[in-house]
Symmetry: C2
Subunit: 146 residues, 2 copies
DNA sequence: TTAGCTTGTATAGGAAGCTATTCAATGATA
DNA sequence: TATCATTGAATAGCTTCCTATACAAGCTAA
């Protein structure tokens, strides 16, 4: 059969992703944040008042995943859900003061993780790495859609 | 603040890893397998009778994660836990006939996912990608250890 | 206007990861 | 030998992801 996990892109990607998550967890736990909340916060820091639907579109996560994470974020005092002015089914998600205050330290933490991870890579190689990942993401999305 | 998630290695890696997992899920579900079982099966296909401890060492997963996944694999008729001949605390994990028979189709499925994901990349770029990932893994492991 | 489709969220339930804790078997030492 | 530390595994409890389903609000069309 000859299947060497350490030569398998999928296996190595999974391993790398767990390590990225662990490194970020360590740095944002002091802020009272967790990894799953991060993408949602990033989005809301740049564009507040989005609906759940809009978050789903922007983050490539399932609606149920977002809904559950939002519930934990509400519990943790990071967001508030307010009724949508036009659509009675929808809510608009707003950040609390607490969450707004975390933008700078949290993005610093994320930058620090990237810096540690990519420390040995020159800028050109970093860009190339990102380009390759975008290509792979595109290929896998096409595969999953088909 | 200026934090563009699509230029953040950590964010993109997480996204890519979820897509790899989804693509593999789709292909191994017909075999009755799930993604978390895959690394353990890979290890046992090449080296049966390992203890939980040995699996933990070889797979860089936490002991509790392995223990829980083994329980589900036992439930699914993929492995058997047998008493360790010398050490009363330990067990040796053996594959069932069913699990042994899945080696070829399951590794084929994993290879197919890698092939789809890396389709647009020439062999040299694939090797470079793996090397970069190993470098990043090393850097993050060092960071987490320290 | 009302019946029926569509859409935005919520919820149930499960997998895979984690930390922290417990427990029994082993090993080491006074 | 009796005690105490170490070690292998199990368990509790959490987050983050998923699919499938339910439900109420909105929309459409007869």
């Amino acid at each position: 059969m000859s299947f060497d996990k350490d030569q398998s892109a999928g296996y190595v990607v999974n391993h790398m992703a767990r390590l990225f998550a662990a490194a970020l967890t360590e740095r944002i736990r002091p802020l009272g944040l967790s990894t799953g909340q991060f993408p949602i916060l990033l989005q809301l820091w740049s564009e507040e008042g989005l609906t759940q639907k809009q978050l789903v579109e922007r983050l490539d996560l399932e609606q149920a995943t977002i809904a559950n994470t939002l519930t934990r974020m509400e519990r943790d005092g990071l967001i508030e859900r307010k009724a949508h002015p036009q659509d009675g089914r929808a809510q608009c998600i707003y950040l609390t003061k607490k969450a707004r205050a975390l933008e700078a330290p949290a993005t610093e933490a994320a930058k620090a993780v990237n810096e540690v991870a990519l420390a040995d890579l020159p800028p050109v190689a970093r860009k190339a790495f990102l380009r390759v990942m975008e290509q792979i993401i595109g290929a896998l999305q096409k595969d999953l859609a088909g």
